[in-house]
């Protein structure tokens, strides 16, 4: 029963991480550059949700579209100041310019809201469902977790439809695969790249709203989320969209299950199974993957992107 509970928790966490990683990989594919501000944009999404909630006392699920629209606008601004002036320079220039964006977001939020823990409204409510109370501790399912899974699944499905069923989405993909040819067959690539930033940052914002209920948010959370997206995309295969989702799910599964191992397997125990211990072990695993399988855990080494 504990295993089932852990699996459910991992699913909810993984769903939110997947949104972060998706935003990261979309921008990566469209620009060939790492968006180092992705994590800080998640954090900004959390605070955006907070601000919206103060203005409109409605459930989070109503705020979500508003927040995503605002974050999309923020994404356009990021593209304008941190990507377009640098698009003819080596990709590391964008790496550094987005580090700068991250610093600005982090410290801007710190000045505006202070370093304390903040919390966004629940998507629907804070209720809990309990099942099978008698069996091994039972299964506790919070309304928020269910809502996170449903919302993330809807967003991912919507994204899939956008990319496979609409001309706009297909042209976004075409632009990501070969910018030069895309422009030569009539696709306005700059507009497409800007749109990708809007979509990618809107996803980060959504993830921020989803995560900042159960896990709270502080201005310093960005680095952590950025690293998760970066790692998810690395183990999923650099540039692969399904890989990013799978990578996010794997990270979430590890983060939920590893600290609980002593409870599952009584022989285990000790400081290695603390939250920090889990992160250290995960980091070590990622390094091993980087060295042994740079193309990621899944699929072949597709077209290399610098």
């Amino acid at each position: 029963m504990l295993a089932l509970q852990l699996l459910f928790n991992a699913l909810a966490l993984g769903a939110a991480y997947a949104l972060v990683a998706l935003g990261f990989v979309l921008i990566l594919n469209a620009t060939g550059a790492v968006n180092f501000a992705q994590g800080d944009l998640v954090m900004a999404g959390g605070y955006g949700g907070l601000v919206l909630a103060r203005m409109l006392p409605v459930p989070g699920v109503v705020l979500l579209p508003l927040l995503m629209a605002g974050m999309a606008a923020l994404g356009l601004m990021v593209a304008l100041v941190a990507y377009f002036p640098l698009r003819r320079r080596p990709p590391e220039a964008v790496f550094i310019s987005t580090i700068a964006i991250g610093i600005i977001l982090q410290n801007g939020t710190n000045i505006l809201f202070g370093p304390e823990l903040a919390r966004t409204p629940a998507l629907l409510g804070d209720g809990e469902f309990r099942w099978l109370d008698g069996v091994g501790g039972g299964l506790v399912v919070s309304a928020q977790s269910v809502a996170i899974i449903v919302v993330a699944a809807l967003l991912i499905a919507g994204l899939h439809l956008l990319f496979s069923r609409t001309q706009f989405g297909r042209r976004l993909r075409a632009t990501a695969q070969d910018r030069e040819v895309a422009s030569a067959i009539g696709i306005p690539v700059d507009a497409m790249v800007a749109a990708t930033f809007a979509v990618g940052v809107a996803l980060a914002g959504a993830a921020g709203l989803l995560l900042a209920r159960g896990f709270f948010v502080t201005p310093n959370d960005g680095g952590n989320y950025m690293l998760k997206a970066y790692i998810a995309v690395t183990i999923g295969g650099w540039g692969s969209i399904p890989g990013a989702v799978a990578g996010a799910a794997l990270i979430a599964l590890f983060e939920v299950v590893f600290p609980a191992l002593p409870a599952l397997v009584p022989a285990l125990g000790g400081p290695a199974f603390s939250q920090n211990g889990a992160t250290i072990v995960l980091d070590a695993l990622i390094l091993v993957i980087l060295v042994a399988r740079p193309q990621g855990l899944f699929g072949e080494a597709s077209k290399a992107r610098a």
């Binding site: 100041v81 941190a82 080596p90 310019s97 410290n107 970066y230 990622i286 740079p294």
Partner: protein, 578 residues
Amino acid sequence: MRRADAMLLLCVAAYGAYAFAAGSSYTLRVFSVAGIYALAAIGYQFIFGQAGALSLSQGVFMGVGAYASGILALRFGLGFDAALPFSVGVPVLLALAVAVPVLHLRTHYFALATLIISQMVLLVAVEWQGLTGGANGIGGIGGITILGMPIRAGWPLAATVWVCVALGAALSAWLMRGRAGHAYAVLREHPAVAGAIGLDGGRMRLAAFVLSAAFAGFAGSLYVHVIRVISPDVLGFPVMVTLLTIVMIGGRLGVAGAVAGAVLVIELPEWFRPLREYTLLVYGAILLLVVVAAPGGLVGALRLLLPDRAPPAPPALAASPALAELSGLAALSGASGLLLEIDGLARHFGGVRALGGVSLGLRAGEVLGLIGPNGSGKTTLVNCVTGLVAPDAGRVRFAGADITGLRADRVAHAGIARTFQTVALVDDMTVLDSVAIARPRTDFATARAQAMTLLDRLGVADIAQRRCGGLAYGLRRRVEIARALALQPRLLLLDEPAAGLNETEQADLSRRLRGLAADGAALLVIEHNMAFLAPLADRMACLDAGVLIAQGTPAEVQGDARVIEAYLGRPAAVSRPA
């Protein structure tokens, strides 16, 4: 030293003089911290500037040095100086451990790997409370002592720190003087060329990474004795961001940039006290502005504003030895037998056959022209011979030795030089240095003198002191050939040497290449320009779809039916609509 760099250092010195004169202990303390960051930034320039790799672990190397020195001081009473082997050594060992698996990775993977290492070290420091004091850290660390003599806070401390900065800057400038600095420039801007002129890129990157860690460790050990407490803050990302900002603002290359950048970034919050709360926010904004508007930083911008006056005179031509003597080519011209033997060389890319078992031979003193339609595998053949691409099958023998699959720099040292389809020179380097850098096993002054002879041989001695960036294309081609010759090659592979040259230049180049062959070098020339190639080549070979379809005298090959068909094709079998 360039004028711009001297100017920057002068500004820093002037500010330093003011800080010492003003003399408030607080001012001097801040100035000391600026010096410590300057040292770490000078180190960061090795990996991020010289080697061009975006490392995100410099802050952690500094923190590890600080922890090593602090812990040794508290637990074992070791002074700052006695602890140095550890406070420098531990970050160096960490760098070595990290570098072996990840240093060869591409930019974004290397950045991620160094970031992950940083996170791990930070978490270990927090968790390992027995050693590190955990999240709270440890206080009560003593000040700097040298040979048992305590250095007082105030001006003696600031002076000590800045003497260290001066020594570090001098060391860095000394390490990067002459050949090394130019070698890193080639590695950074044209990695494929680096191998082709005999530079071991992997070793150079490793050296840069280890040096950056050593400087950071030293800076960290100073830091812990100035701040007197140690906490995980020193391992945090903000330290890394500060170093990155310093180097971006000051400039990625040149110690003057690191020093000026450090003073600017560390002192800035002091100059604008009311804005202190916004310090990091302002850093972010400045960093963004610099990346977008001034990628070369202060140094780069100043170097444009203050160009150097007339460069030093090049070495006199008469002083340098003659080419034949210098290359030892003449001695070889009588040698018989095949110098290069290619046997059944094959290579696929994905499912595409680029080379399908090519066999070719080349004698000393011979010019072989290699022709073939687009995509027929000519460049792949050259890449396989020179070690840039590993063949799937087949063997390459050179001067009797098997060189199949040898690394590019080893192939170059074996005596095979090449030029590239697109000219790959470093814009900011002089013509003379660009050639001298490829000269093996000599000190740089001698190399420069010998390079003059080569430039003269190619008819470009008069532009020896010009920077490559501004040269006309024909001249760049010749400089590139001179650079290839500097390796003392016995075999020279030229990939489309006549492209972009006018007819006079082509005739001149052809004459000079014949002269090299007469001296005993073997030449393999890829070219589409038949008017250029046919009179130059002794023999010609034609590749089509990765297979050799003809070989013989230029006239034979040009008249060969298969060659004509490969180039011109047959009429399409189609009916035309009325």
